[in-house]
Amino acid sequence: MKKVILLIILFFINLQLLAGYDISKANNAYQNQEYEKARDSYGELVKKGIKNFNLFYNLGNIYFKLEEFGLARLFYERAAKFSPLDKDLNFNLELLKSRLKDKEETKETFFSHIFKKIYYLLSINMLAIFVLICFILIMFTIVLVILANKSSTKKVMKVFMVVLSILFMIFLIFTVARLHEFHNKDFAVIINETVFAYSGPSKDFQQVFTIHEGLKVRIEKFDKDWLLIKLQSGNGGWIEKERIKII
């Protein structure tokens, strides 16, 4: 029995070791202000499809230092999907927004602020674990209800079951909502310095507005090489696909 436990522990340690990627070189390059070298080094990991808050955050910083504000915004926004309330990230993002040509207005009331704090308090994984814990406890209470001989124990267990079920539903709804948001591909960042938007999916249409690098927009429609985007103000326009990157 002891051997089995030991094997399981070793298995998990191995798993941890396998999953890790060494980024010390890139970090050192950043510290020595060799931003281009650091960018390439981190970029390789991104190409491999690795998703990690630190990776995206650090890359955002590098692009900020290289003054490629569009890509900096892109990676900050990607990092924000993992940890939306991270203080460093939000500070950098605000600083970045102040450097952009197009100003964005963020209207935040007291209640929306509180809601945001609660909504993003736990990470998706933490929420999922809470869902699991609630589920296990519900099952446990059900087992006790089945096996208990005394009717008073059964009553107490049933009360517990109701409370746990409510908690379970709350956590489950939060998890599903957050997951939906995580996989949302509706938002994109402008990466070209100046982008003209037209009233239709071609340059022959009337030019309706001009936007600049780093602006976050909502994608409404796809049409081959053109995208219909919507600004915060509600104005919509068609732009070429390669001028933006989806977060």
């Binding site: 980024i23 990991l45 910083n61 600083l95």
Partner: protein, 629 residues
Amino acid sequence: MHRFQLFLTGFVILFIKTPLQMVLGSFQCFVVRKDFQGEKVLFIVIFVFIFSLAFAKSDEIIVSSYVDKTELSMDDNLILTIEIESEKDIKTEPTIPQLTQFQFVSQSSSSSTSIEFINGKYSKSLSKKFIYTLRPLKAGEFTIPSILVKYRNKEYHTKMIKVKIKPSRFNVAPEVTSPKGTGREIFLEAVCSKKVAYIGEPIIVTYKLYSRKNLVGINAEQFPEFSGFIKEETYQAQSISYHLEVKNGLQYYCYKISEFTLFPTHSEKFYIKPMELICAYKVQPKSFFDFGTTKRVNVRSNKLIIDSNDLPIQNQPADFSGAVGEFHINSNLNTTQVKAGESITLTVTISGKGNIKMFEPPSFPKINNIDTFPPEISDILTDSHKTQGEKIIKYILIPNEPGDYKIPELTFSYFDPEQKQYKKISTEILKFNVQASNKIVDKQYYRTPKGIDIQGLDICFIRTENSIEDFSFVFQHFVYWLFVFISLLSILLAHIYHLERKKRFQDRAYLMRRMANRILQKDIVKVKKSISEQKVDKFFVLAENALKNYIANKFNISSGSAKIRDIIEVLHNKGADKRLINDVKNFLVMTDQARFGGSKYNEEKIRAELTNLDDIIHRIGKMKFRRNK
């Protein structure tokens, strides 16, 4: 009552519009028929009428086209009308083919509805008219081709119309002007100050309308777009105002429509679409009874072609920031004597002609012991074209230490499109003196209101963890689902266990087996009590009972009637070994005998028997266990 129903039926029929009403109408007829036994004929008539009406209701439309006259001169306009008749309000438009001999002057549409009752029959028709005013361009005989109207995937064609156009009676050029309309009645002219320009070089584009007639109305039909330029609208006509201007020896009313200053943003050959206006003027009354009419003409400007060139890369100074034109620079300080910690303002003015709004100010060099802040920039444009003016840049400097300071010359580069070369201008070297502040608190005084002295903002540092893991959701891991599975399984197992237990409790033998140990414990306590009370007779009775009860409970036989032989037989049947059977037999025989001659047993012997009893019971307990296995 019958009459009322009949009336109702007629009413429904009259307003049949939708299939639902049709069904209702039929139903109504059915009801009427039931009551009106004698008037079946009427019912049939009504019924047939409803269905004929329903099937007659089709989506067909009638399209026709006609002109107001088939013979006209070059001075007249031809009015082409396309009429679409339908029963419903439909949304379709005729497709007008390219008519090379004519020019479209105006287009309008109207619609009318007519409702008719003929012999009580209701019919509604909608007619939509599309009216096109055409102006002939050439004399001769022409055919207006058949016009296509598409409706619900069906195509409808009109008949062709032949039109004869006679030469002009007055031999005057037509009023609608071609772009280069010198010597014409009305024409719109677009003029640009330069045909070839560098990126960032201002180009002034002016639209002027020339007319020999006094205009009463000007409407914009199409405005040009200037994609690829930064556009400054410098003039836009708000009302119809004119001045007289002589052009090609003729005097014209000149209406300035709009004026733009354009700055190209990239190199390309730009074609600017013409501006289109609709002008209205009064035609002089020809007789006393003629009150004169207003005529409208469509005017189009000439196309503009602007070629924008890249700035030369050769010899481009490092500090060049996009300024194109001709500029001067000068600088001054608001004071030359300050105390440490106080601010001093350096004002740099770049004045001249060019794209003043579009370039960056010179950067301020770093000077030891002087704090600088991002400069305050204001653009003042003095002329109407927004190409002349000055850029005022204010740098706020705060020296920290006393001493003499020198502001080095600030250089600024621009491109001179006239001489086609880059030019560098610079400010003079400025000096100022900083005195020690007479109060030591002064420095603190300056700093305290602001709290902490912030030199600049930068992003937070990177995360320095040297190892990262690929993000994955916990529920992507099998362990997560293993937990879910186990907990679900536990319910199943609990349920199975519960059912099994319920079944067993209904089984008396099982219950007794379960109870055997508990009863034994009680019996043993009694036995021990008898020893401590030194009641030898009672001990043997209790010990025998304890053993008999235990075996009886264990193997489901009645304890009361159990004789030694029965017990041995049961034990034998249950597969006990011979030694155990022997021991049990001996013990029981011993107790039987002892009950009648118990005096020969002393306490020591009784205790030995007690351990013997314990041993036997232990072995029976084990035996049962083995068997179950």
